[in-house]
Amino acid sequence: MTATQEAPQQLGEVPSFEVHLKIRRYLPPETDGAAPYGAPAPQAEAYWQDFTVRVHGTDRVLDALHKVKWEQDGTLTFRRSCAHGVCGSDAMRINGRNRLACKTLLKDLDPSKPITIEPIKGLQVIKDLVVDMEPFFASYREVMPFLVTAGNAPTRERLQSPEQRARYDDTTKCILCACCTSSCPVFWNDGQYFGPAAIVNAHRFIFDSRDSAAAQRLEILNDKEGVWRCRTTFNCTDACPRGIEVTKAIAEVKRAMITRAY
């Protein structure tokens, strides 16, 4: 006999409450014909728009955004795909902090105050909460985020001990949501800095015992816009929805560069 069968069949009702959302809206101006992707778009004014929605205590910011989009204003534009914190599509600035809308519970945000939702900073806004992620992915591609091996491929798996795997376990968790990079003050300035996400994904291969291109990746990140621009403000570690210790990973890459050079 289990405890559930003995307990009264009365489920606690999920409390519902009203939340006030303050959403940063941006509508690109109409242009004659489609501008090529990546071309500088003509600028319009961004503005704040307020919405009030009734939500459940179990709802996330994404649910509130869905309610707005489906019931109040269908023009509200944002990215989301899996809605469960894995795809990394719905990174946005919620109450001034970079968070995934699908992992942030409304009840944790003090619903008595308006909740501000903005696009992530440092990347060009395309519409409302959607930003151009291309510069972010360009940096990611530059660090060669793929396995590079030397010699003939083995006839079976490339073996690795649990200790060797644990060395870079933390940085395998990255979902490329850009929360870290777009929370970095150095990246905000001119966007030339590689950014935490690119360094995290370089770290994932630099410390992989099966990979043989660590020296190349370290050379790439030794750039003047590479790891040495990190000011260890820990914004990235604070922002990461996967709990990656980003600043620590950057420090480990720095250390690898110093031990390689001396």
Binding site: G38, E142, V186, R229
Partner: protein, 146 residues
């Protein structure tokens, strides 16, 4: 029919394949540690021991700079502090100035100021005359014989 655009790499970033930034980063840490020793040594000898802050006058400074150890101490402190500080401000300019023109102007002023101070300071330490002729004897260090 649309074709998917080719992956782009950012063309605007100029690559620098030198160890300059790494050396700068290491220098900041090393010089910082050394400066803690130098500055606190300076503060203790000047402000606490031998009568404290009220004992400082021309004679006190002249007496210190007559000894090679304090010449080397102050010279090291000057150079390390200036290079450390200049490099720090350089990174701040890189972080905060958004336009290339602003950066160039600010960094030029910074380097000019640093060079002037380092040259002037070094010159003073090495060419300092503790016993200027014709000065009243009570203001000079004790080893001056008029």
């Amino acid at each position: 029919m649309t074709t998917i655009a080719e992956p782009r790499s950012r063309a605007t970033r100029k690559t620098s394949r030198t160890n300059a930034e790494m050396i700068g980063w290491i220098f900041m840490r090393a010089s910082g540690v050394l400066l803690i020793v130098l500055i606190f040594g300076h503060l203790i000898t000047n402000l606490i021991t031998d009568g404290g802050v009220h004992a400082i006058d021309f004679g006190f400074v002249a007496g210190k700079w007559a000894q090679p150890i304090w010449q080397v101490w102050d010279l090291l402190m000057l150079w390390l502090a200036m290079v450390h500080g200049t490099n720090g401000v350089r990174t701040i300019i890189n972080d905060y100035a958004e336009r290339a023109g602003t950066r160039l102007v600010l960094k030029s002023l910074l380097y000019l100021a640093a060079v002037v101070i380092v040259v002037l300071g070094t010159l003073v330490i090495f060419t300092f005359n503790p016993c200027p002729p014709g000065a009243p004897a009570d203001l000079l260090p004790s080893f001056c014989t008029a």
